[in-house]
């Protein structure tokens, strides 16, 4: 099993790209910065899922993003946040 590239608490940026195939990253999350909340298991890579065998797999994470940074004029408290599932090949480390 491939070791995870990222660990809980690490700051990451979600890559801003739009491949012309099915992918599981909503537009609002692209380019956003968050923190790894949880390291999940390996799952089939959605962009290649059309092959139907669930391979190759990619590490999945839950990334926590502050709502204040996510939306302009967010109406809520500073502690509000959003957890989203992002695959490893969509994450890059923050320097």
């Amino acid at each position: 099993m491939t070791a995870p590239l990222f660990s809980v608490g690490q700051s990451v940026r979600i890559v801003d790209r739009t491949p012309r195939v099915h992918h599981r990253v909503p537009a609002y999350a692209k380019g956003q910065v968050g923190v790894i909340e949880r390291v999940c298991r390996l799952h089939g890579e959605p962009e290649k899922f059309i092959r139907g065998d669930g391979k190759p797999t990619q590490r999945l994470y839950r990334v926590r993003i502050a709502q204040n940074g996510l939306w302009d004029n967010y109406a809520g408290s500073d502690g509000d946040d959003l957890d989203i599932e992002i695959f490893e090949h969509w994450l890059e480390p923050m320097e």
């Binding site: 599981r24 990253v25 909503p26 609002y28 999350a29 949880r38 999940c40 298991r41 799952h43 959605p46 999945l60 839950r62 709502q67 939306w71 967010y74 109406a75 809520g76 408290s77 502690g79 509000d80 946040d81 959003l82 957890d83 989203i84 599932e85 992002i86 695959f87």
Partner: protein
Amino acid sequence: MTDHDKEHDHARTFQPDHQEPTSDSARVGLALRELLIEAGHYTAEEEQEVIAAMQGASPENGGRIVARAWIDAAYKERLLGDGASAIRELGFELEPYEFTVMENTDSVHNVIVCTLCSCYPRSLLGMSPAWYKSKDYRSRVVREPRSVLAEFGVELSDNIDVRVHDSTAELRYMILPQRPAGTDDWSEEQLAALITRDSLIGTQRVLRSE
């Protein structure tokens, strides 16, 4: 009214006819199903088993899980750590997805959405409500969760943070709501009956114990 009339009370017994497919996509769906069965990818019997299993799924299952977590601290810890294993402990069959249980506390309220489609733990909790699949809910609850929750009647003071969970990929979610006050001497069955579907999604926060 005679007894005979009561037996033929059409207002009570009426059921709508099953509709014939009227759209092209519905016809394509039916044709695809027949082809898959004909080609031996699965059998009609297997399909019936899956449908029957889904019909057995309901929010009551979530109620059993929550009630157990309320009365058994060690179980709750396992449930929050590895939801799928803890849920299987109670005898539920789960597909091999990761199951994530999020706990509401005095300072955090959790709510679930799937913005990309409408992922929902159907095999455990049954069909999702229509609003969960609506574009309105899916687009707004990530951007303005407090407004959406207020529309559901969830009152949140400023010292309670809102945490939205966007179910974008392979995980499935369930909220562990807070146990209502005044239920210390309740049985597990009584507690389980308090839990509603919406409280498992997060569009209800306070469970009524009266």
